[in-house]
Amino acid sequence: MSRRREVRICHGGMEEAEVRRFEQFLRHVTGFECLLAEEPEAEVAVIDTDGDLGSYLVRAHRMLYPARPIIHVSAQGSLGRDALSVWARKPVDPAAFGEALARALAAATPAGSSDSLVRGRQRRPSALARDRNAERIANLYVGSMTDIDVRDAAQRERASYHPGNYLQGFFESARQFAGENGTVTALMHRQERILTLSADGLRVTTSLDRRSLRSLGLIPLAKQDFRIVSGTPDPDHVWQPASPLLWELALWASRGRIPAGVPFDVPVHLLRWPNLTRLGLTPDAIRIAALWSGHPTSLVLSARTLQLPQRNVFAFFSACRALGLVRLKAATEQAPEVPPTAPAPGSAGRGLFNRILAKLPGLHDGTEHR
């Protein structure tokens, strides 16, 4: 009797009860030993695309894992037209799913699955030592954009984004609406309430699971599908502080870019430190915050001074800006920028710094919000 091939599968667009049923179903798939895996470890994604958010889930997954095959489970047909999209028609039986899985695996490139996360990215030697989790989080929060030449308008455009096109912008509009009207405010996607903000805009509830929320946060949204309305508190969900969500929405939308219109060469002053122990920690956030709190420095010079990829600086800036934690120095305040200087190599202070940081637990690689 031949041994069935093991395949790691992740899912999207399923409610909790559906996931449990899906897990049961996977035990019976013809020809494969299917294991439900965490998203970064999966070889194949299975997404129920019949839901309202199906197209967003597929697009976001494709953005994060461009080389991973996706099985679109749907009664209506596949949303994807690329070679890595495979359709499994509902209702799916174990044999049909096994066939879809075989087609999906055949379509995958040899270097597929989670390795695609880092493809194309400039990697520093220190990054090689990072664990996979850190890679995943860095990719989610800062993306993989290479450094730009800010003298080039096209490259500046590439490193900019419009928050209003993303869930970040819808959230900010809803918060503004709540503030202006003094009412609990709901953000609706078609007929479904996806976010509810308290009247003071400081607390939020959501009906979405984290993965769906992230999918919506990552990609530009179709404005006609969303509306902001006065609402009532959502009794099925618990209020949470709004800031951590807005912070992440800004990071997901930014992915290493800055809001359009923000100059790259104007010194950034940190008004307050973000509460980094309770927010998604982006790579090098503490170093950047420390620099800006003591020595306002432009985005480009910050990256150069700290010897960081620009995307790390841009992402951190975008999140800080969303929470109102940074200020760009006005033209009248500006003097020619002088880069902060590093202490001489081998100096006592620098040596101590390195030795202590080496002892602290993994803070340099970014940590996902808990």
Binding site: R272, T277, I286, A289, W292, S293, L352, L357, K359, T367
Partner: protein, 179 residues
Amino acid sequence: MSRFKIIFSGPAGAGKSAAIAAISDVTPVNALADADAADRNRASATNVGMEHGTTLLSDGSTLHLYGTTGEEPLEAARDTLMAGSTGLVLLIDGSREDPLADLVQFVGTFERFIAGTGLAIGVTHADRAGSLPLKEMAELLQQSGFGTVPVFEVDARDRRDVSMLIEALLNLNDPVAQP
């Protein structure tokens, strides 16, 4: 081998002992007696006086972690403790009646020391406090001339939280240093 030190301070029950224990390689030593009865209901292992823990760095040198309430009977003793320190981690119990007043008191106690080194604030006991005045504390410090000080919510038992405070403190001293 070299010796380095970081000072932890704050009101009784704010989590100094727990923070030092979270980082220390050895069980921290409590130099003085138990807190009085009034403080005992705030934390089961609260101590006054000085606590001490250590962690060995990669080159064999030692980082010393000292916890103090800042109530040393002699100012000279405090100066001795502070001499050569890398900075101050101030832990404020967010569930106390007036955390901002505690902050003012402790920053005042260590003002001279902070000016020469650095300061990071950890606000503890969020579970009992409801909301924490992180923004108010940061603004107060800014207005008092301490600059943009890192103020984080922390669980003093959590090594990651305490490490982040220390990392912020060290980076403030030297943001351009390469980790």
